[in-house]
């Protein structure tokens, strides 16, 4: 039995009162709140065995190296990668994607090649490719989505050809909530010899990701969205692909042998982890993953799907509210507009009512524009979200609608 109220007790931030009242946190898509277990695990490192990993020959250094590598193994299991060395720790998903663009991309993308992305990509899975195209002379191709935000296989396939060298697509849109069929997309892309990068930032929070099943070549996600700390992210890459890639940054820890004449580089994944890594954050992220696993995706998905239904029901009650992104297969992300009310005005009233949502272009300006807006309001769900949070959202939206209604 999924007891969301008990789960919330694991998250210290929900004890916070703003102006004497609790906060309905509906911005998990931007960043998730963190359970106590994450703080405890990170504190344990600092209190009991903190040192620089991989460098020492003493107890602390051994202990933190073990913890750091265990975190890698936790991530491996979480996404079912074949080997732990296929897991590269980065700062966040943005860095993971930039790493691929700057290494594999520069090596493999040339003038005349094409990179294919969806219209609904986050800037992090768009701008690095645009930049790569500018410097390589390749062409950025974009496949459109339907008016309701749904994936259209024909549109994707129509732009996939032997010139396509990379397909970079989100598994779940951070604006529309649309789930893209990444397994099907990967199979088609491999059919023309293209590599596939999956932006799993949103998907990995809500659903189990199996990189072997999907068969993607790369996947990227961030620790802070999966209930872990900021400053740590993951790049998954198939070992045979990573092995052929040159280093990303240069310095300590990524080398094998250094002389003034010549430096040879370490094996994967160390080759891509130059400098002192965010070891404590890696341990924290692993703890976030373990927290998800202790509850179990089966129950999380059931809870969130029930909430998705409930949110749809409650939002319909708000006059002139339009949900942007109503694909059949969508996760707990609700972008919406209320008549002509500017999202900034909406957010002002919602903030007064202690309802935390995001407004703006959500770092995905092209898709917000494509849906006909400059700015949208967005409420999003997490494993700790309650019906009361949604009630608070609906009540605040009703109040805002009335407040700004033109007489």
């Amino acid at each position: 039995m999924y007891d969301v109220y008990k789960i919330r007790k694991d998250f210290p931030i929900f004890d916070v009162r703003v102006n004497g009242k609790p906060v309905a946190y509906l911005d998990t898509t931007a960043s998730a709140q963190k359970p106590q277990a994450v703080f405890d695990a990170m504190r344990r490192v600092y209190y009991e065995f903190y040192a620089n990993p991989h460098r020492g020959t003493y107890y602390f250094a051994d202990a933190i190296t073990t913890a750091y590598e265990r975190a890698r193994e936790t991530v491996r299991q979480f996404i079912n990668a074949r080997e732990a060395r296929e897991i590269v720790f980065t700062r966040n998903a943005t860095e993971s994607i930039n790493l691929v663009a700057a290494t594999w991309g520069l090596q493999n993308i040339h003038a005349g090649d094409e990179i294919l992305i969806s219209e609904a990509e986050h800037h992090a899975n768009l701008v690095p490719w645009q930049h790569l195209c500018e410097i390589s002379g390749a062409k950025l191709m974009v496949f459109p989505v339907a008016d309701d935000g749904d994936y259209i296989a024909e549109e994707f396939l129509a732009r996939l050809n032997e010139k396509t060298k990379l397909v970079a697509v989100s598994a779940m849109s951070n604006v529309l909530g649309t789930m893209f069929p990444i397994k099907e997309i990967t199979a088609a892309a491999h059919g023309v010899g293209a590599k596939v990068l999956v932006d799993a930032c949103q998907f990995a929070v809500h659903y189990p990701l199996d990189v072997q099943d999907v068969d993607c070549d790369f996947a990227a996600f961030s620790g802070h969205k999966i209930y872990g700390p900021t400053g740590i992210g993951v790049l998954y890459g198939k070992a045979e692909v990573l092995e052929k890639m040159p280093p990303y940054q240069f310095g300590g820890d990524m080398v094998e042998n250094v002389t003034f004449a010549k430096t040879t580089y370490a094996d994967i994944p160390a080759r891509f982890e130059a400098g002192t890594p965010a070891s404590v954050q890696a341990v924290g992220m692993a703890e976030g993953i373990k927290y998800i696993e202790r509850i179990g995706f089966e129950d999380i998905v059931r809870h969130e799907e029930e909430l998705i239904k409930y949110t749809n029901q409650r939002l319909v009650e708000v006059p002139k509210l339009k949900i942007i992104g109503t694909a059949k297969n969508k996760g707990g992300v609700f972008s919406f507009a209320v008549g002509n009310i500017h999202p900034q005005d909406l957010a002002f009233v919602l903030n007064k009512e202690n309802v935390a949502i995001r407004i703006g272009h959500h770092c995905a300006q092209p898709i917000v524009n494509r849906m006909g807006y400059n700015s949208l309001a967005r409420a999003s769900l997490g494993l700790y979200t309650t019906k009361e949070d949604i009630d608070a959202l609906a009540a605040a939206l009703l109040k805002a609608e009335k407040f700004f209604r033109e007489e």
Partner: protein, 132 residues
């Protein structure tokens, strides 16, 4: 209406709803900005909504016209223009806008963390005053 009257009016409100309903009313009475000025050129950068600000230099003073597509921001613009309009550049530079907003109980609109762009607008006004 001058700023002292405005401060007095604001002192009667008991909750944010009344206060901001009045802000909206002020926005509704804002002198309209000619649509020809609603272009990139006159946009104030760094706002979550669209904000336009146009200076007219008249007899050594500056008269500003402004607008926004967000209702509350339009109201705040009306107040900012009431504070700054038809003053000399020296007068403009001597105004402590934060102090006035504190007296109005609207200081939350000028904090750097609030990305409604009103601080950028004030900076832009002072920039025009410097330029003159």
């Amino acid at each position: 209406m001058d700023i002292e009257e405005l401060i007095e009016n604001f002192s009667f409100f008991e909750n944010w709803e009344e206060k901001y309903q009045y802000v909206i009313d002020l926005g509704n009475k804002l002198e309209p900005l000619d649509a020809a000025y609603k272009t990139e050129e006159w946009k104030v950068k760094g706002c979550q909504s669209q904000v336009w600000l146009v200076p007219h230099f008249v007899n050594g003073c500056i008269h500003f016209a402004g607008d926004s597509d967000a209702i509350l921001v339009r109201g705040i613009i009306a107040i900012i223009l009431l504070i700054y309009n038809d003053k000399t550049p020296e007068e403009i530079k001597s105004i402590d806008v934060m102090k006035i907003f504190a007296k109005l109980g609207l200081e939350e609109n000028l904090t750097p963390s609030r990305r409604n762009g009103m601080l950028s607008m004030v900076a832009k006004i002072r920039e025009y005053a410097d330029f003159k």
